[in-house]
Symmetry: C2
Subunit: 443 residues, 2 copies
């Protein structure tokens, strides 16, 4: 799949924050670039919880990768799922997702930016009952389950069973767990008011559990306390130092105690994509590939691994966190290394992460924010967070739409995207349903 | 599931245009209302083609039914799929879609507004290869297929196979077929310009076939001609008097001739929901239930059938068309009949349809519009059509968002929602894929 052009060929795997910045950084370099992603869109993952809680549409936080790169004529984009890498002959094998055929592509330089996925710490059987949140399909699945729980409560006449329908358990109190819990609590306590006839949606129990001693473990303790008290004011019950021992269709067991819940959402650990396996190299406990100070694989200066897939240390010897700003800065850095390399110039600068801050949003108009030595909470942190998100949101159109929808939600207390979509596959999957006649309005 | 309240109980099946207007019309009536729909949202179906062609998000053209009816305290909404009706004991049996359990509900008055679905005229095996467009799941499926075709062309190195990837066949040249063909042509000829490296998207062949002698058969002949010439200017190849004889994975046979095409979209006939079967009554050829001049079932003045499910005649003896304005006016009419009935007042007025006009949009800034004796085409018809759509779009928020997105698309030639979402069910469905590791950016 290589063209006749003789410029060095850079293959980038993954169009997330890291891969996209690497590609954009090579805009004016004398290279050919091929970007492979198994999705056609770049996803603004920090706002994915808003899709999962019906605040935004999937299209608002996603932009087609090939449209973002349309003006880089030396860059091609393929919809492809990588299945292997041969370091010796510098070849990537991928599945063409439009035909399911296997193809290969050779590279002079390789940038691996394939991200991470949620991990169940060896308990993969929990995924069915407690979906995680990494992709748009994950988000719409969680949205469907959450909205269906309230619909079930409206149809349920038994009070005890209704209480189970209205119990939401969120496992893991990192930013995603905190943001999801806050959003579901607001849905129940504010936006759904008056929407149901057989129960008060404020009866919903939203429980956020965390193995560690406090919420937002990566934040300063002061902000963890503030976040917990904000969550409790919204009606979230926070349980720290709590270990989840079992999850099934009926609920979960935590610290030996049984909790019945219709909806469980997994916001705990992540696990890197299988790049280490493709490369045949050692990985750390989270599956990440060890890289040197220039983000290269040992002995392979032509291979870079960045973002959530890389196990990289900062100058102070601390492991870099799996957050978007790290991936963005690493992508830009790799583009600079490559530009120097192909121009035959020396490049000695090591990668250094500049931490601009940490942010977690807690429902409508509350957030906690750490900006260097500055710690903010409450409304001012929320407004600052709004601008941080918008600044990074790819595409002018998406920025405008997100502002509009937030303004709408803010002033009306209404969520815009309360959609339960029963997809055709579900119907096709169940034999009994397959032939069932279409019913219900303009279905 | 009945409350103790002794007011007459009106059960409405379907929250589309007809059912929703019936419910809203009973706002101040001394009744209890139960609305059943198998979706939680009212769908603005006339703009569904925009979702299928990546112009709008599903959330922009859908609004939660229970939010629309939140202020009507005597109205409850259930997420339910009707499976049967017993006219003698006045009971509806439905499946509770949150638990898959069967439940029953009794009524004093019943309004059936369950719409229609596309019909393959007995060739249901064609659906797999040529999906139709009635639900949000249909629209996102067509969006996925259309976008995937261009992705496949980018990965294809054989010119002949690429030409098949880039062939789009639309069957049926009613408003949906015309609007879809125009939208896909604009995508290919304008919005995708510069997005691909291995082919020119303007090479795409968009073919619109129609069994009858002209496009838009329900419009005046003059407007049909105008629409056809507008489509041809956009690059659509129109084939009238053409019968589709076979459809398979590889293409279609039409008038004895074989056409190879990767993407086929069904925009032809519709078939009513199975209300006639539930009621145990005769149906017309399209499966619609015959109703009298007050939209009631013969011998059952307590049962009303409206919208696409009803076979009703206008005063001039002509069959009423299956369009949104008919359903809306019928829903309002039934609410008035019921209000008079429960108040013990006489009501002799028969239903009469007031045709405000017909509209078909042909891509960016072209349309044909018939408004009484006035026939418009071109830009002015398009602007008029914009206001007609916006006027009927439920919810202020949706109106603003749709204006914003249209303005964006109009001034930038960019579609906002080019999302290919590979849902978790597809992965689960294929054994080989189920265990495949997650790859690709922030997937």
């Amino acid at each position: 799949m290589n063209s006749a052009n003789s410029a060095p060929h850079v293959v980038i795997i993954g169009g997330g924050f890291g891969g996209l910045q690497a590609a954009l950084g090579l805009r004016r370099a004398n290279v050919r670039v091929t970007l492979l992603d198994r999705n056609n869109h770049h996803l603004f993952q920090p706002l994915l919880y808003q899709v999962a809680t019906a605040g935004l549409s999937p299209g608002d936080i996603a932009a087609p990768i090939r449209a973002i790169l349309a003006h880089q004529k030396h860059t091609e984009v393929f919809l492809a799922e990588v299945v292997g890498i041969n370091k010796e002959i510098r070849e990537v094998t991928f599945m063409d997702l439009t035909s399911e055929a296997e193809r290969t592509i050779t590279y002079d330089y390789l940038v691996i930016a394939t991200g991470a996925r949620h991990s169940y710490f060896g308990r993969d059987e929990w995924e069915e009952f407690a979906p995680g949140l990494k992709s748009i399909a994950d988000a719409t699945e969680i949205r469907k389950r959450t909205l269906l729980a309230f619909e079930a409560a409206e149809l349920e006449s038994d009070d005890a069973r209704r209480a189970i329908d209205l119990t939401f358990l969120l496992v893991g109190a990192g930013p995603t767990g905190v943001e999801m819990a806050g959003s579901i609590a607001e849905m129940a306590h504010r936006e759904f008011t008056g929407n149901f006839r057989h129960f008060d949606p404020a009866q919903a129990k939203i429980i956020l559990v965390e193995l560690g001693p406090r919420v937002l473990p990566a934040f300063p303790e002061e902000l963890s306390q503030k976040a917990q008290s904000d969550l409790e004011k919204l009606g979230v019950s926070v349980r720290t130092s709590t270990r989840v021992e079992a999850i099934d269709a009926d609920g979960a067991t935590m610290n030996g105690e049984r909790l019945r819940a219709r909806t469980i959402i997994w916001c705990a650990g992540v696990e890197a994509s299988p790049a280490a396996k493709w490369l045949g190299v050692e990985a750390d406990r989270a599956g990440r590939v060890f890289v040197d100070e220039k983000l290269s694989l040992a002995g392979h200066t032509e291979i870079f691994v960045i973002g959530d897939t890389a196990s990289a240390k900062n100058r102070d010897g601390k492991q870099l966190p799996g957050v978007a700003p790290v991936a963005i800065q690493q992508g830009r850095y790799v583009a600079r290394v490559l530009k120097a390399r192909v121009a035959g110039k020396p490049f000695e600068e090591r990668f250094r992460y500049f931490n601009k801050g940490d942010l977690a949003t807690i429902g409508r108009s509350k957030a906690v924010l750490k900006l260097g030595a500055i710690k903010l909470s409450g409304w001012i942190a929320w407004v600052a967070g709004l601008f941080v998100h918008l600044f990074y949101l790819i595409g002018f159109r998406n920025r405008i739409l997100v502002i509009m929808q937030w303004a709408w939600a803010y002033f009306t207390y209404q969520r815009g995207v309360r959609l339960i979509v029963v997809d055709s596959h579900e119907h096709a999957a169940s034999g009994a349903k397959q032939k069932s006649p279409p019913v219900g309005g303009l279905s």
